[in-house]
């Protein structure tokens, strides 16, 4: 059965329970009320009987009638008391019968009757004060048996009524308790259900959100896989194209060389200049193809790694750049450099690009001062910086220099393919790192390379 339906059934059952316990409580209450009324009536009837017969009633008046024969009013009062007492006895017997008690007040009634007879005997009879003893004898009838008779019946009746009231009281208590328990349970059930409904809504919402998230994640992962695939294919194509361009470019350069050799000395000024330009253009093309290959290859982060001692690597690069350093009168200052695990050819390429840039983009008026040093990095990273005193880069151009062919300078002023920094950035990325630049135009530039230290 569905939860909701079950809850409704449970609630209805509880309501029915509350209604029935309520009805039985009302009935028991009513019955108990009746019994209590009977008990009260019994008590008041007994009191009435005692008043009618006791020293304020019948006996009192009877004695006065005997002692004061000149005042016949007492006789009348005694007679009235007698009638009231008899009525009370009738009522008690009636109550006893109604309760199924067979006992009667016969003894009591006959004792009372004897008093009554004596009263009648006194009527028209003359006493004087000397006859008090005689009068006393008439008024003092033995009534022990009568009293026992009344006590007996009263006790039985009281007992009987109490026996009747007790289970009613107990039943009423049980019934009310049951009702209370059921009401409590119903309230609890309702608040529990309300809470459950709330939680159910929350749960459903969460489920829905999870579902949406899962779907998005799947789509994202699909897209990512697709992007990776496309990227890989593009890289392969770029690699193939640049690789295949390299060989005709080299061949063309060789052809120009051969042509120049054959025509040496025979050419006029203009054709000789054209041939020089052709040679320059072809060499630039070779460089471009070479750099494009580096750029394509730098995407690969799975290249083999080895321990790179940056100090030694900088030695090598500076040795290679010796001619340019000498020509420009550059001074290179270095502090101790870190060692880390990386792909050596790539790191070499990166260091070479940065040092070459520092040499290339110098100010014409002063000799270059180049510093290379280790920089503090967060744990798990290694960092070094190359600082120059060159022409600097305006702040709004600093992002452009890392873009493909993002040259800021004219080729006739600063030679290069415009790929050096994009290649370097790719290499840093492939090593889980980055390159940051700070620069003041006309004062110099600092490139800070951060790599993941593995």
């Amino acid at each position: 059965m569905p939860r909701r339906k079950r809850n409704i059934v449970i609630s209805l059952a509880m309501l029915a329970g509350i209604a029935s316990t309520g009805a039985s409580s009302a009935w028991l209450w009513h019955r108990h009320d009746e019994t209590t009324a009977l008990q009260a009536e019994l008590a008041s009837t007994i009191v009435a009987l005692e008043q009618a017969t006791g020293y304020t009633g019948f006996i009192h008046n009877f004695k006065n009638a005997v002692l004061r024969p000149l005042e016949p009013a007492y006789l009348d009062l005694a007679r009235a008391d007698f009638t009231a007492a008899n009525a009370a006895i009738d009522r008690l017997e009636q109550m006893a019968r109604a309760e199924g008690i067979t006992l009667t007040l016969h003894t009591y009634r006959s004792t009372l009757q004897r008093y009554r007879d004596n009263i009648e005997a006194l009527t028209g009879f003359h006493y004087d004060s000397t006859t008090i003893d005689q009068a006393d004898a008439m008024a003092r009838l033995p009534d022990g048996a009568a009293r026992t008779n009344l006590d007996h019946l009263t006790q039985r009746l009281t007992q009987h009524l109490e026996d009747e009231a007790r289970p009613l009281r107990q039943g009423l208590l049980a019934s009310l308790s049951a009702m209370l328990v059921l009401i409590t349970l119903l309230l609890r059930e309702q608040s529990y259900n309300a809470r459950m409904r709330e939680q159910h809504v929350v749960f459903e919402t969460q489920k829905h959100l999870l579902e949406v998230e899962r779907r998005y994640r799947r789509e994202l992962s699909d897209s990512l896989a697709h992007v990776r695939q496309v990227n890989r294919e593009q890289a392969e194509i770029s690699y193939a194209i640049s690789h295949d361009l390299k060989s005709p470019a080299n061949t063309a350069a060789m052809l120009v060389g051969a042509l120049r050799e054959d025509l040496d000395g025979t050419l006029k000024e203009e054709p000789a200049e054209l041939l020089d330009d052709l040679d320059t253009t072809l060499r630039r093309m070779s460089t471009l193809v070479e750099d494009l290959l580096s750029y394509t290859r730098a995407l690969d982060s799975d290249l083999p790694r080895a321990e790179v001692a940056l100090d030694t690597m900088v030695d090598d690069v500076l040795a290679m750049l010796r001619a340019e350093i000498h020509a420009s009168g550059a001074k290179v200052q270095r502090r101790s450099l870190p060692s880390f695990s990386a792909n050596p050819p790539q790191i070499r390429n990166l260091v070479q690009n940065l040092l070459q840039n520092a040499l290339k983009f110098r100010r014409p008026d002063i000799p270059p001062l180049i510093e290379i040093f280790q920089v503090e990095a967060e744990p798990g990273r290694v960092a070094f910086a190359v600082r120059d005193n060159g022409i600097g880069i305006p702040e709004d151009q600093q992002e452009k220099i890392f873009g493909l062919f993002g040259r800021l300078q004219r080729r006739d002023e600063y030679e290069g393919s415009g790929l050096g920094l994009p290649i370097s950035l790719r290499i840093a990325h492939a090593h889980g790192g980055n390159i940051a630049v700070t620069s003041t135009p006309g004062q110099g530039t600092t490139f800070t390379v951060t790599l993941k230290a593995t």
Partner: protein, 131 residues
Amino acid sequence: MIQHLMTIDDEPIDQKLYKRLITRSGLVGTLHQCLSAEDALDTLAQPECPALDVILLDINMPGMNGFEFLEAATEAHGDAFVRYAVVMLSTSTRAEDEARARSFRVVRDFLHKPLTLKNLQEIDTRLGAGG
């Protein structure tokens, strides 16, 4: 006959070849060569700068590129700084570059590099026919 023609291109060798072609064609009176857009703007700002008939403009240049030049020149001189501007596109140029170039009113024509004698003759013809 084109009285005043300006070429704006950062490639020295390309400039050399423009000069050779233009000189040999005999179609141009005076040739003004600028190796950067900044140079060209400076030249335009000179009081002795003659009224230019044609500008051959390269797009991809370091510093200020061809589009930026068109914006700056239009802002400084209105549409009157040249009668006939031609944008030279390299073969790899994307379609959006062409669309962007068309948004300038002074841009009357496009040509793909390299510049040929036929290109020059066509420009001369159209200029003679009133642009």
